[in-house]
């Protein structure tokens, strides 16, 4: 990882392409920021560093999407949820590998990656969640 990696969303997705879930930690107040930002919204510090998250957490809430945007229609119906990672930050995303009727709030999920980078902006890969 380059020391010069900017605290940007672009960089967050470059790390996703490397199959890493990276956040920014404020060295002043300790807040973990995801997605990364150049300015800590808590204490306004710019003293920040990258940290790698374990990519595991618990399901906080979910839905099953039946009417989807064009890019996601091939997945319908698909599960979308918010996961609280072990480090205390939350991420939204699609959940795969589990049937809707087996979903339980509080269940453990892991992050996985779909490194399939589009040709046009934004050239970002995607992450998703699945049971361990």
């Amino acid at each position: 990882m380059s020391e010069a990696a900017q605290f940007t969303i672009e960089q967050f997705y470059r790390f996703i392409a490397e199959k890493k879930i990276m956040a920014v930690k404020c060295e002043n107040c300790g807040k973990i920021l995801i997605p990364p930002r150049p300015l800590c919204p808590n204490c306004l510090s710019t003293s920040l560093k990258w940290i790698q998250l374990k990519g595991r957490g618990k399901l906080l809430t979910y839905t099953v999407i039946h009417v989807a945007p064009e890019k996601f229609q091939h997945l319908v119906p698909y599960i979308f949820g918010i996961v609280e990672l072990d480090e205390g930050v939350r991420l939204p995303g699609i959940i795969q590998g589990v049937k809707p009727e087996d979903l339980k709030i509080g269940m453990t999920l892991e992050i996985d990656f779909k490194v399939d980078i589009p040709q046009t902006w934004p050239q970002w890969p995607r992450y998703f969640f699945k049971p361990p």
Binding site: T61, Y62, H66, P69, L75, F80
Partner: protein, 390 residues
């Protein structure tokens, strides 16, 4: 008397909401403006109106940015300066607030505030995509969220934490559809039953088609004046006595609480404090029922009931037309329709009718204090206003 007037509403107008084929937003705005002018003969629009603040969410629907001067022009008030404000579905709620600022600053004695959105010219797929732009792009939209999905996430969390049921959510739709049948300007003019709501097709579980508000065309406007000159224009002004604006992180995932909207609690507190009132003083309210769960959460965040008791509140009948605190007498976003940029001022329009005794078949008896609650996006913006009969 509680509540120092911040500004007076001396007139208001609303276009018919619905699928207005062949009409663009500027024509709908002119329709709303015509009503506001016709019902306020003492107003000399070209001379009196010093500014227009107009809410509109998306230029994508009509391929038209820079719409504020168009609306000034179509209202016939050029060269009145105009500006468009945008905070998603709360855009015209914000227009009211910035109209207030113009009055309170002393710069303008009379301003027009309004809102508009043309939506039904687009396919449902296009409209869904444009509306989703009000959520966070890099994490929510990019990873497959839709607008209904974000409210569905709140619904799931609310059901899990408090035991709220799909039947209770359906009751919100039943109530608002009933009220819509009493409002000739409502998009949807038909009753629905709990069974119809529950058996409608799933959009984002647990939200079904009839839990969702409508994609509509429409426009709204109101004339605000300095309180001390209001009676030059009307014998029955309505005063705005409280204004609150809460802002939170755009991403639902960034917020601590998934069952309550902090922006609403902040906006409500600011507005209640300014008015010197509490939730029990409210006689009639228009709340942002973009989805049925949003109305249930609004009951709680506005203090109409305790946290977690929104489901029981609708079950009790309290927010129905003949209940103790009628909510969304217009039919709400659910049945009156939700041309997003028009909604905030459309809510004001309904409260203006109620407090001046002009709400006809849906008139709430003896109402003196009204409230509007307008959400932007999944709740990163909330604007609350409190009104008193003059």
């Amino acid at each position: 008397m509680k509540g120092r007037p911040l500004a007076a509403i001396v007139s208001a107008g609303l276009s018919k909401f619905g699928k207005r084929d062949g009409f663009s937003s500027r024509e709908l705005f002119a329709e709303a403006v015509k009503e506001a002018f016709d019902t306020c003969p003492n107003l000399d629009p070209k001379k009196d109106i010093k500014a227009l603040i107009v809410g509109n969410m998306s230029e994508a629907f009509e391929h038209q940015c820079h719409s504020a001067p168009i609306m000034s022009d179509w209202a016939g008030i050029l060269p009145a300066p105009s500006v468009r404000v945008e905070v998603a579905c709360a855009s015209s709620g914000a227009a009211i607030r910035y109209g207030l600022f113009a009055i309170i600053s002393g710069l303008c004695d009379v301003v027009m505030v309004g809102g508009f959105e043309k939506m039904t010219n687009r396919t449902t797929l296009e409209a869904t995509e444009y509306l989703a732009m009000a959520s966070d792009f890099p994490l929510e939209q990019w990873n497959g969220a839709t607008f209904p999905a974000l409210f569905a996430l709140m619904a799931t969390a609310h059901m899990h934490k408090y035991g709220t049921t799909e039947e209770q959510m359906a009751l919100v739709a039943v109530k608002n559809h009933h009220n819509g049948t009493l409002n000739p300007k409502a998009h949807m003019q038909r009753e629905v039953t709990v069974e119809q709501v529950l058996s409608s097709r799933i959009i984002a579980k647990p939200l079904k088609l009839f839990d969702c508000s409508l994609i509509s065309d429409g426009a709204s406007c109101a004339i605000l004046t300095r309180p001390d000159i209001a009676r030059k224009y009307t014998d029955t002004p309505v005063y705005i006595i409280g204004s609150g604006h809460g802002t939170d992180a755009i991403g639902l995932y960034e917020r601590d609480d998934l069952t309550s909207l902090k922006a609403t609690r902040i906006a409500a507190k600011e507005a209640y404090d300014m008015a010197g009132l509490s939730p029990k003083d409210i006689d009639v309210a228009e709340v942002h029922d973009c989805f049925t769960i949003a109305e249930i959460i609004a009951y709680e965040d506005l203090g109409f009931c305790n946290p977690g008791e929104g489901g029981k509140f609708i079950e009790s009948g309290a927010p129905t037309l003949d209940g103790s605190l009628p909510v969304n007498t217009s039919g709400g976003l659910k049945a009156k329709g939700h041309p997003v940029g028009a909604t905030g001022v459309a809510q004001l329009y309904e409260i203006f009718l109620q407090l001046t005794g002009q709400a006809d078949k849906r008139q709430v008896d003896d109402c003196e204090i009204g409230l509007t609650h307008n959400l932007g996006g999944s709740g990163a913006t909330c604007i609350v206003h409190i009104y008193r009969r003059g």
